[in-house]
């Protein structure tokens, strides 16, 4: 019998390669999850390492860690729901699951809710950064927080046309817990921002340290943020019902007039065709903040490069060097803690994809209050409620409008629509 021996060099190479690849996947134990500090804001506010540390320590005491959240009564949050959503993913013998946020949300929104999850760069639009406390799709006025029901609705329905899925297949209790955890991350993020910005207002006696008193931390900082969330429950927009005897054809015609008119001026961004081809070079608030910082850095770097150091006093030289070091640090922070800014194109209204919901009342909310964080302005105060209903009816008719009717002055062929 012929004995076939695998060629030793080949076998050793393959075995070595497999072992190396396998070993490469796991070098060292996974570090425990942590809340990533808001380094963009910390650097913008020129916080010292000691100040950054103080903010982290305060936040740890007020909010705990991703695995062990702390729920202070002033937040108004439900601790049981938070514990269901927080921590690593696990389930018990009857199938109750914990760690829901890490299972369903963190890969895009990040453990901190900073929209810096691993997959974030691939998504367009980017996932929501909860930390500024700004939410788009809600039933409250533009500047108000969303209601709990708004968050649950977004989770339940998802956001069409984006990567945000619907969690309708999850049990209602799990969706409730996730909505509560989103509020927790948002309150934590806004508190962090407030603390970082508070250094700017410190007087000389404070010696660069925030007062660690209950009055400052809870009453003046946390409660201010949390109260806005509590107030949202009663801040729902009172929508007058659409007249039952409305003539839909006339309403659509009136809505079209308003759409192209100067009062509502929807045409400015959504375009004469309604294809979203109007003004399309704007940013939402999250991206705009990064763009503005980028511009500031760029102009600062130019000024620092052009400055002549020859005639500077030692103090001026030290300040100049400090400025250069800050610019360099900020550049690195932006590389690691911010995604490439993207413009936000106005919605193409002929697709029938409405991110905030397709119900007439959803469109009413969007037109009445605008979209917080986005360039979409509020029509409230400019357009009366009954006219908003006309615009709603016209917008809802747009996906079905015939080609010849497209736009006020620019007919468009079907092939050019998309």
């Amino acid at each position: 019998m012929t004995f076939i021996i695998m060629h030793r060099r080949t076998s050793h190479t393959l075995a070595g390669l497999a072992i190396c690849l396998t070993a490469l996947t796991g070098c060292g134990k996974t570090p425990p999850a942590y809340f990533r500090p808001n380094m963009v804001e910390a650097t913008k506010q020129r916080l010292t390492p000691d100040q950054e540390q103080q903010v982290s320590t305060i936040l740890l005491a007020m909010f705990g860690t991703p695995d062990e959240p702390v729920c202070l009564p002033e937040t108004g949050l439900d601790e049981a729901k938070l514990r269901l959503a927080a921590g690593p993913v696990r389930s018990d013998i009857v199938g109750r699951k914990n760690g829901l946020y890490r299972e369903h949300c963190a890969h895009c929104h990040g453990v901190t809710g900073d929209a810096l999850g691993p997959t974030a760069a691939f998504l367009n639009p980017y996932p929501r950064d909860y930390r500024p406390g700004v939410f788009k799709f809600k039933s409250t006025e533009r500047a108000d927080k969303p209601t709990h029901a708004d968050l649950v609705r977004v989770l339940h329905k998802g956001i069409p046309g984006t990567s945000m899925p619907s969690f309708a297949l999850l049990p209602a209790a799990q969706v409730e817990a996730l909505a509560e955890y989103v509020k927790y991350l948002s309150i934590r993020g806004e508190t962090e921002l407030a603390l970082m910005r508070a250094y700017f207002e410190l007087d000389d006696d404070a010696q660069g340290k925030l007062p660690e008193t209950r009055e400052f931390l809870i009453d003046e900082t946390l409660a201010v943020v949390a109260d806005k969330w509590k107030a949202a429950a009663d801040a729902e927009i009172q929508v007058p019902p659409m007249p039952a005897d409305i003539d839909l054809v006339a309403s659509i015609a009136k809505g079209k007039e308003l759409f192209y008119g100067g009062k509502a001026n929807c045409v400015k961004c959504h375009g004469v065709t309604g294809l979203g081809d109007g003004q399309a070079n704007d940013y939402d608030d999250w991206n705009k903040a990064i763009v503005e910082i980028g511009k500031e850095l760029s102009s600062g770097a130019t000024a620092a490069r052009e400055a002549s150091t020859s005639g500077m006093s030692p103090e001026e030289l030290a300040e100049h060097r400090g400025q250069l070091a800050w610019l360099e640090k900020f550049g690195k922070v932006l590389d690691g803690d911010a995604l490439e800014p993207r413009t936000i194109p106005p919605r193409n209204l002929r697709h029938g994809i409405y991110r905030g919901g397709r119900r007439p009342i959803d469109l009413y909310y969007r037109i009445h209050a605008g979209i917080n964080g986005a360039p979409m302005p509020a029509a409230k105060g400019t357009v009366p409620p009954e006219d908003i209903w006309h615009i709603v009816n016209y917008v809802r008719s747009l996906p079905y409008e015939l080609d010849g009717e497209l736009g006020a002055d620019k007919p468009m062929l079907a092939k050019d629509r998309f």
């Binding site: 060292g28 570090p31 696990r90 369903h104 999850g117 691993p118 945000m164 619907s166 697709h351």
Partner: protein, 319 residues
């Protein structure tokens, strides 16, 4: 054991089949994030693993069904591996087969320990290593089956000589298929706290480059293997077909995870309904992508074996 009958090949085939089912369960455990559905190990909620009440497992929560089922299958595969090792030791004179079976025994033990460590430490890094060792074991099991069949070590359909370039391409395909599974494991076992968007971008780039490499190699293998033995030709065709399905499943896995990449398709193609998280269809597509990747690896091992991977150096390049 029946005297005169060599049980090596049937047992090796049984091992390949059982491992394939085990890998399916493992992939489902990851898809449903069910690894921590049982907090202890090797016991299951304090019970001896094999004595855990059947009804509580079979009719219990889905996560428990997957995780405990994965453990039971793992134990079964371990026992089959030991039985195969015993048979090989008694009946198989080939040093290659013996070596592979020893490797299989070591790997199954390491894999079991890694599975336990993943649970006891609740560590995603260990989970990633566990996900890479599984396909490695599967590849070894397939190699044993491929070597002990009719076309194996002393099989009746074994060619007298092998084509060097076909062998090179098939070995490269085998390596690329495994690298793909390693890259895929990094994407599947994402630790949101530890992986930055930049790192994830690199991992996706690696996985896409790997997909291109596997596709190119599998399709290049078809003409190279066309003049070879029927088995080589068959395996090359099967893998080329599987790779086409795998590319489609990969695109599907992306879609059900993150939607249509912006700008890739006309806006009118974007679904009006949002994706449904935790849908059965989504889980089937993502899990199917992983399982098919493992089958491609197994097929590549069989193809490389048929193309002369385990042949003596002097037998290669003589065709």
């Amino acid at each position: 054991m029946t005297a005169g009958f060599n049980w090596t090949f049937p047992l090796a085939c049984l091992l390949v089949g059982a491992t394939a089912v085990l890998l399916c369960f493992g992939a489902l455990v990851t898809t449903y994030d069910a690894a921590m559905a049982v907090p202890d190990w090797p016991a299951t909620y304090g019970h001896n693993m094999f004595l855990f009440p059947f009804a509580e497992w079979f009719y219990g929560p889905w996560d428990l069904f997957l995780e405990h089922g994965h453990r039971l299958l793992g134990a079964t595969v371990g026992l089959i591996t030991l039985a195969l090792a015993a048979v090989v030791w008694m009946r198989e004179p080939s040093a290659t087969v013996r070596g592979l079976v020893v490797a299989a025994v070591l790997l199954v033990m390491v894999q079991g320990a890694l599975g336990g460590a993943r649970v006891l430490l609740d560590d995603k890094t260990v989970a990633k290593v566990h996900a890479c060792t599984g396909p490695l074991f599967f590849a070894v099991a397939v190699a044993v089956a491929a070597l002990t069949g009719r076309r194996g070590v002393a099989g009746s359909e074994r060619p007298a000589a092998f084509d060097r370039s076909a062998l090179r391409v098939t070995v490269a395909l085998l390596v690329a298929a495994y690298v793909q599974l390693v890259a895929g494991a990094q994407l599947r076992h994402l630790d949101a706290a530890a992986v930055s968007p930049g790192t994830f971008r690199w991992l996706v780039a690696l996985h896409l480059a790997g997909a291109a490499a596997v596709a190119a190699l599998s399709w290049a293998a078809v003409p190279l293997c066309w003049s070879q033995q029927p088995a080589t030709r068959r395996w090359a065709l099967v893998i080329a077909g599987l790779v086409v399905c795998q590319l489609a499943l990969g695109a599907g896995a992306w879609f059900v995870s993150w939607g249509v990449p912006s700008g890739l398709l006309p806006a009118s193609w974007i679904p009006t309904e949002p994706l449904a998280a935790r849908s059965g269809r989504g889980a089937a597509i993502v899990t199917g992508h992983v399982v098919l990747g493992m089958l491609i690896l197994g097929g590549s091992v069989a193809l490389a074996t048929a193309a002369g991977l385990f042949a003596r150096p002097q037998e290669r390049g003589l065709a």
